[in-house]
């Protein structure tokens, strides 16, 4: 999944260039309820905030069905130990924490976010 942070607060401004491109492995948008919305034109920061809050699994989450619902074997660092075995992160949790880190960095400014 690729997320583009676009300069400017309107679609026209956004065409002027990208600020940052983030490539996130192992998140499958089709497995989150955000799917419909995120394929539309770039999101404003308030919309990203709303999305980060509400993003969830597309069907009731079933840990017993890992192949259907998990981002498998994602490298995760345990803050305390510094090492971490690959973990299975639910897609929607993966997407949510990525969106939160974008908000953390760009939330106060006029930027658009395109997810796809």
């Amino acid at each position: 999944m690729i997320i583009r942070i676009l300069k400017g607060s309107t679609q026209d401004d956004a065409d002027s260039g990208e600020e940052e491109t983030i490539e996130v492995e192992a998140i499958d948008l089709s497995r989150t309820t955000a799917y419909e919305e995120v394929t539309k034109p770039p999101l404003t920061m308030p919309a990203v905030k709303l999305l980060a809050k509400n993003v969830g699994p597309i069907e009731p989450f079933d840990p017993g069905e890992p192949d259907s619902y998990y981002a498998r074997n994602v490298g995760v660092t345990d803050w305390r130990d510094g090492i971490g075995p690959p973990m299975d992160i639910p897609h929607y949790i993966g997407l949510r924490v990525v969106l939160e880190s974008i908000l953390d960095k760009y939330g106060e400014s006029d930027f658009l976010v395109k997810i796809g």
């Binding site: 809050k53 345990d78 803050w79 973990m87 924490v97 939160e100």
Partner: protein, 401 residues
């Protein structure tokens, strides 16, 4: 069913892997220095969302509000407030004081309220610090330097006592992953740890009293910093910032002054010793660029900056900025990777600060399940201190690892 073990964090994680089921859990603490026997104070609620097949859980931690800690307002019925817990002691103390010093009832009530407010603030501060140490929250670095850290390849970081407490080096590495770090730990900070341990041990021997809540502020210095120093030594080239013997004589400890003699400039003298040590280091090695003092003390950072020392000040986030709670996983845009804090690490760190920590399940069909992590268990031997072992006790039907 009850089961007790003496475990390291690693053993705790592997033996009690799948014991935290999705649902609502309350995190409580007991500290014998300032709480009566068997009294637990709630620190917050943990909502466990999902467990991976390996038994790792993603959770939200919602710290209890300061107001609720202080007087129990707007809180679940089973969460005791400091007001309720200390009521009997306050009444007793009030009676004695009134007899001795003819203090008015209003003054006694006011003093008790001030202590509760201070205690609630202290507990909140310690929680925030703990979440920073665990990487669930991250500080914003204010860097005073002519050149940007982004342009540097190497940095020598002198860590003062505060930054050793909150794991600043780990956050620096995350936010500046390209930097090769060289860590320097001031001898003054190490001397402070020794002082703290001695001071705390003597205070911990007496019966509980509400005023001893202030020990929570100093405890991480004795419990967390030695582990942090060990971790730094294992992961980064590390040296100690030595001082000339004549300067070391100026070091001030934490002893209480007797009578009218106060301990006036303890903090500023010790800060001055660190600053002089940095200047000496730069002079001896002929360097200035790339040497940074990382200090969580605003005044010290400002003073150092005035004297031409480059500084890094980690600005701490405030818990009130997170009304929905703090999530256990984070994504770093800088490193492009996920960071995760396990429930085990959270309980472990809190036990370092709050002595005994309990996680108790409130729903999810696991009613009655609970797990205690105890730092100061009675038979703790030297090896257990070095290995950072704690007593882990699991209760209830789901307690078997």
């Amino acid at each position: 069913m009850t089961k007790s073990d003496l475990l390291t964090l690693h053993e705790f994680r592997s033996r009690h892997k799948a014991c935290f089921m999705p649902g609502t859990w309350v995190i409580e603490y007991h500290d014998r220095t300032h709480l009566p026997n068997d009294t637990f104070v709630s620190l917050g609620i943990m909502e466990i969302q999902e467990c991976t097949p390996e038994g790792e859980a993603f959770f939200w931690f919602r710290p209890r509000s300061r107001k609720s800690l202080e007087d129990g307002s707007k809180e679940k019925q089973d969460a005791l407030s400091l007001e309720e817990i200390w009521k009997s002691e306050e009444a007793q103390k009030g009676k004695k004081k009134k007899e001795k010093e003819s203090q008015s009832q209003e003054e006694i009530v006011k003093a008790a309220k001030q202590l509760r407010q201070r205690a609630a603030r202290l507990i909140h501060d310690q929680l925030a610090e703990s979440l920073i140490r665990l990487g669930m929250l991250k500080p914003v670095f204010e860097i005073q330097s002519p050149e940007s850290l982004d342009e540097q390849r190497f940095a020598t970081i002198i860590l003062d006592t505060n930054t050793l407490r909150d794991g600043t080096l780990r956050h620096l590495k995350e936010q500046f992953p390209h930097l090769q770090l060289w860590a320097i730990i001031p001898i003054v900070s190490l001397m402070e740890i020794g002082e703290r341990v001695a001071n705390m041990t003597s205070q911990a021997r007496s019966d509980w009293k509400s005023a001893a809540v202030s020990l929570l502020r100093v405890r991480p210095q004795a419990t967390i910093i030695p582990q942090e120093v060990q971790w730094i030594k294992e992961n980064y080239p590390t040296e100690t910032l030595e001082l000339a013997p004549e300067l070391l004589r100026a070091f001030r400890g934490y002893e209480q002054g007797k009578g009218d003699t106060r301990e006036p400039d303890r903090v500023s003298i010790n800060d001055r010793l660190i600053l002089e040590g940095i200047k000496d280091l730069c002079r001896q090695r002929g360097i200035s660029k790339g040497v940074y003092l990382a200090s969580g003390d605003k005044d010290m950072s400002r003073l150092a900056s005035l004297e031409g020392i480059r500084t890094i000040y980690p600005c701490r986030p405030v818990l009130n900025d997170y009304p929905d709670g703090i999530f256990s996983a984070r994504y770093s845009l800088k490193t492009g990777s996920y960071f995760y804090c396990s429930i085990h690490s959270l309980l472990w760190d809190l036990a370092h600060v709050f002595s005994k920590v309990r996680a108790r399940c409130l729903d999810g069909g696991q009613e009655g399940d609970r797990l205690d992590v105890f730092y100061y268990y009675p038979t703790k031997l030297v090896k257990a201190w070095i290995d950072d072992k704690m007593e882990v006790t699991a209760f209830g039907p789901g307690s078997i690892a």
